[in-house]
């Protein structure tokens, strides 16, 4: 079961991993920031990346996959340059989140967790992002846009 892939953090990154681990009473609690680091580095969390991180922590693979799939911000496949997340959970749904999602899907011809062929844009339908007070909301990469109307979404897209 030894992992033979060539994926590895640099020495500096490993130091950062250690620092992150030292912040918590239990090392394994640092799994989230370390997965985040990994995603920044490799763009998304491939199976090999998850195995690598699991081995760094001596955690079972299923545990890491469980964490990675629980949070929508971890990508389990390569995403577009601009990754648009649309919340359709209750607050956002009541305020029109669904129609924003459908609008985007129709416009680009892709659906949940798909990427345009040019690799520029991907869409994800997400559960509550904790920004209900600004419902409906979308996120483009790491930026949140709240209280958005269809028009505003269009403008945002043009500015990309």
């Amino acid at each position: 079961m030894e992992n033979t892939s060539t994926i590895a953090f640099t020495a500096d990154e490993l130091k950062e991993v250690e620092r992150l681990q030292s912040l918590y009473p239990e090392h394994k609690a640092a799994i989230m920031p370390v997965l985040w680091m990994a995603q920044k580095k490799w763009g998304w969390l491939s199976e090999d990346v998850m195995k690598y991180v699991a081995d760094l922590f001596t955690l079972p693979y299923a545990h890491v996959l469980g964490v990675a799939t629980f949070y929508t911000m971890y990508f389990k496949k390569p995403m577009g340059k601009h990754h648009i997340q649309v919340c359709t959970n209750i607050s956002c749904m009541l305020r029109g989140g669904d129609s924003i999602y459908e609008h985007l899907c129709n416009k680009y011809g892709i659906r949940h967790n798909e990427t345009t062929t040019d690799g520029k844009l991907s869409i994800e339908e997400v559960e509550c992002m904790g920004a209900c007070s600004g419902a409906p909301m979308i996120a483009i990469n790491e930026d949140f846009y709240e209280n958005v109307s269809l028009d505003q979404v269009e403008k945002l897209l043009q500015s990309l």
Partner: protein, 927 residues
């Protein structure tokens, strides 16, 4: 004294906190400490009173489904809050309402919502009528689901990839019982919940199939799953059986209780009873799934007599006559000492007792030994010398009370899986644990300390630990003073040791040894476990005595959570020795060479019993070569495959005039026999097994013996009668009555009183068993300190220059010893061959790559084995198993023995290696 019990899977003190009560639906009931509302209500109203879904008897409370909700108020008319009863502690004097309208509506709605994403094809479902979801739905009064059909997961695919485990997650209700079973019971951490919200689903490993995951198919998840979402090929949890029979597993010394479902004299499946004291609803794959050997076409079904080199079928009468005649003739011609017997630790106490009685009382010789010789004889001898009793001092349940575990030369997660899982849970929780083993075993990966010593240097390493305990001033002076003898001389010798030299010999950093020693010595309660990595060495007995020294010097004897605990290998190796299957001790370990005792035995058996020295197994082979031994009787022992140095064993057997073998399959040894008697398997007979914690448990006949076979005990009785000794028909009850009159520590053992969980010996005449030995005094009075200096084994001393590597042997979980049984089950689909573990450095030196065949040569012979390159072993050390006959690894193992108990040294073989060329078949050569 039974002061504790399992309530809802959790350890709870039973003493009622007297005055404390709480109200259930307006009536006051007594409350126990640390009790949940659920266990409180169930204790008074029965298990069905409150419905549950995510709760399971052997798992920690979880609180996911909320079906167990009740209302709780702090005062009679106070406001009521809804609480999940399964994980909410009872507050004394609170008011609990279990079935108000509000609660009934809530429960119903929850289950209805669950059903919106569950196929409603109960009638065709595997678990129909045995489904907890179905039961709970009926219980909360659901007739139809009011919600419209929405998104669902009914299209999820089944996973039928595995030899035993299956899944169909369209039936999954996300209760997480399987995940918790895998984590909390087996500790394998294969399962997890991925995704969230609607996407939440169970995964295996990195979303793999069962076959590709790290699953060890213990079946805990399948047994825990309330629906058919995870199950097994036998549909174990839902089989509709004519009867369910409780019996004891035959695959290892843990002694798990099994509940076997039978239809029409056919075994359908095996489950683990939750109330089993040994295994609490758990098993490993051998116990639960490896039963299909029992009616395999290869089973021997008729006695065979070899005439002119060919086996010919015979009737039982012919076979008995043949044997009786030959035995009588050999006995007349060469005397009774020309006949010997080897009993089996796989067989019951009663059968072992009868076999030694047959040899002593009917043949008239002490030439009776058992396979304990090749595994734990040094344990019995070493512990007898130190304490007076050669058995585990404590019980496995003590793991709940101990503060530190030390595991020496044992790989319990493979060889004793259910106890192994408990040890692993202990280590995984980060509690102090020390593993002493040449291999990085699974347990070693989780342990606080892994002392990875060179094979054969246990004595040196334990001496180092003793040294540090003394120099750090960590001895338990009061214990040493009051309970032991021989300490002063012992201490002097330990302090004279040259630690740096020992560090060099063992190859373990002395600072690490020091830390481990301090950890063991300063834990309030420390427990040690050891296996064949201790005993199967030239210094096996001395190692055991040093382990005993460690326990005594730190006062870790005679109470909960401490002691010296050999992990007995075979299911009844304890019993075989207890029953007297060794030359120097008769039934009950009484000295067979002592005239007083001899007189007592003679009176008891009603015939003169021999007092002359009997042969131990290795001596039997020597005697065969010397022409002194002429006949041997082997009860279920495959000596040709499992004893070391195969060529020697084979040629010894070939020298004999008569070889009788009782077996269930045609083993390598059977092929050398003159008469083969087809025996019944453990599923086809009754008797008792004694597990590694001295627990005498009932083995109950599950199905009738396969046509043509007989229980080993019956065979013994038949031959005794045939040779003129009147022995009543075989029945465990009557044999136990006889045993209880001669074996002191069986005095109060009665078949009918053993109950579901057996009794731990010594069992007093009033029927009370004993969980912990040596609480007040040792069996021998004072415990005795013995010093033993490290002495290099002749094996490496003589051969190291030509054979620079050391090969040691180990077990794999999936197979049992020579594998005659497990190789005839689906277990072979999981593990198909023996492999050689080899360090990357050594592999590189010989240009060996993963999967290459490696020719391993020892001073005795050579074999070809497939390489598995791994850092589990250190450079210079290799390890392999011997489950498959193709390999005959014992062609290369040595004839070195433990100097004291003559247990063979399987664990150290001097060898050389090279990449194999061309042909890989091995031929056993003759000497």
């Amino acid at each position: 004294m039974n002061t504790s019990t399992y309530t809802n899977g959790h350890h709870v003190a039973v003493q009622d906190v007297e005055t404390k009560t709480a109200y259930i639906n307006g009536v006051a009931y007594s409350v126990q400490e640390n009790e949940t509302i659920l266990s409180f209500v169930r204790r008074h109203f029965g298990n069905d009173y409150v419905p549950t879904l995510c709760d399971a008897p052997n798992l920690d409370p979880y609180g996911a489904c909320r079906v167990c909700s009740v209302e709780v108020a702090l005062t009679a008319n106070g406001s009521r809050r809804v609480q999940a009863s399964c994980h909410t502690p009872v507050i004394p004097d609170s008011y609990i309402f279990t079935d108000t309208d509000r609660i009934e509506r809530l429960r119903k709605n929850i289950v209805e919502l669950v059903l919106t994403d569950h196929p409603l094809d109960c009638l065709t479902c595997e678990v129909n009528n045995n489904c907890e979801l179905q039961t709970v739905a009926a219980r909360v009064g659901i007739r139809k689901v009011r919600y419209p059909e929405g998104k669902n997961h009914l299209d999820r695919q089944k996973d039928l990839s595995h030899a035993y485990m299956t899944s169909d997650f369209s039936k999954c209700i996300n209760c997480s019982r399987c995940v918790r079973a895998c984590d909390e019971v087996q500790g394998q951490l294969v399962l997890s919940m991925a995704g969230r919200g609607f996407d939440a689903h169970i995964i295996k490993g990195l979303d793999q199939t069962f076959a590709d995951s790290d699953c060890v198919s213990c079946g805990a998840c399948a047994q825990a799953c309330p629906t058919s979402a995870i199950s097994d090929i036998f549909e174990s949890k839902s089989v509709v059986a004519d009867k369910k029979v409780r019996t004891v597993c035959t695959y290892c010394g843990v002694g798990c209780n099994l509940e076997v479902a039978v239809v029409n004299n056919n075994i359908k499946s095996i489950q683990a009873p939750y109330d089993a004291a040994v295994n609490q609803g758990h098993t490993c794959l051998k116990g639960r799934y490896a039963f299909s050997f029992y009616n395999h076409p290869d089973r021997l079904r008729t006695p065979l007599i070899k005439r002119n080199g060919e086996f010919q079928p015979a009737t039982w009468d012919e076979a008995y006559d043949y044997i009786a005649e030959k035995f009588t003739q050999i006995k007349q011609e060469y005397g009774p000492d020309s006949i010997s017997g080897i009993s089996s630790a796989r067989c019951t106490n009663e059968e072992n007792y009868l076999m030694q009685k047959f040899f002593r009382a009917v043949i008239g010789t002490n030439n009776i030994d058992s396979c304990a010789r090749v595994c734990h004889s040094p344990t019995a001898l070493g512990m007898q010398r130190s304490f007076g009793t050669g058995a585990a001092t404590n019980s496995i349940i003590d793991l709940k009370y101990t503060d530190c575990i030390m595991v020496i030369g044992a790989n319990p997660t493979d060889a004793h899986p259910v106890t192994g899982a408990k040890l692993k849970q202990f280590a995984m929780k980060g509690k102090p644990s020390i593993v002493i083993d040449p291999r990085r075993t699974e347990l070693a990966r989780y342990a606080t300390y892994h002392l990875q010593l060179k094979p054969g240097t246990n004595v040196a390493l334990l001496n180092m630990m003793l040294y540090y305990i003394i120099t750090e001033g960590l001895e338990d002076k009061a214990f040493i003073q009051n309970r032991t003898e021989g300490y002063d001389g012992f201490k002097e010798q330990i302090l004279n040791l040259n630690i740096d030299e020992l560090e060099h010999i063992t190859g373990v950093d002395k600072h690490l040894v020091r830390s481990a020693a301090i950890t063991y010595a300063s834990a309030p309660n420390a427990m040690s476990f050891h296996g064949l990595g201790v005993t199967e060495h030239s210094q096996g007995t001395f190692t055991v005595m040093l382990i005993a020294d460690l326990a005594m010097i730190t006062g870790n004897i005679g109470r909960r959570g401490v002691g010296v605990n050999p992990l007995r290998g075979q299911n009844n190796v304890q019993g075989a020795a207890d029953m007297g299957c060794q030359p120097h001790q008769g039934a009950g370990y009484l000295d067979a060479y002592n005239p007083e005792i001899n007189k007592m035995y003679s009176e008891f058996y009603g015939v003169p019993i021999p007092i002359g020295k009997g042969l131990k197994i290795p001596e039997m082979y020597d005697a065969a070569f010397a022409g002194k031994l002429k006949a041997i009787w082997l009860m279920g022992e495959d000596v040709a495959q499992t004893d070391p140095n195969t060529q020697l064993v084979v040629s010894a057997l070939n020298k004999l005039e008569l070889v009788v073998v009782q077996e269930i399959f045609m083993t390598e040894t059977c092929k050398l026999a003159d008469v083969v008697l087809p025996a019944a398997s453990f599923l086809e007979k009754s008797g008792t097994f004694t597990n590694g914690e001295r627990r005498i448990q009932r083995v109950q006949k599950v199905v009738e013996p396969i046509e043509g076979t007989k229980p080993d005990g019956q065979i013994m009785v038949d031959i005794m009668n045939r040779m003129g000794f009147a022995q009543p028909e075989y029945h465990p009850d009557t044999v136990l009555q006889e045993v209880s009159r001669i074996v002191p520590f069986f005095a109060g053992v009665k078949w009918n009183e053993l109950g579901n969980n057996g009794k731990q010996w010594p069992v007093a005449p009033n029927g009370n068993g004993t969980e912990i030995l040596h609480t007040e005094t040792f069996k021998r009075g004072l415990g005795k300190f013995h010093f033993a200096p490290y002495k290099e084994t002749e094996e490496t001393k003589q051969h190291a220059d030509k054979y620079p590597y050391i090969i040691t042997t180990n077990r794999e979980l999936e197979h049992y010893n020579s594998g005659t049984m497990t190789r005839r089950t689906n277990n072979v689909k999981i593990l198909t061959e023996d492999v050689l573990l080899i360090n990357p450095e050594d592999a590189a030196r010989h240009f060996i790559e993963e999967g290459d065949m490696v020719c391993v040569e020892s001073p005795r012979g050579k074999v070809d084995i497939k390489a598995r390159i791994t850092t589990e072993v250190k450079p210079g050390i290799m390890s392999t198993t011997f489950h498959f006959p193709e390999l005959m690894i014992n062609n290369i193992t040595s004839s070195q023995h433990d100097s004291e108990a003559l247990c063979p040294e399987y664990k150290v073989v001097a060898a050389n290696i090279r990449k194999s060329k061309g042909k890989f078949k091995t031929q056993p050569q003759t000497v």
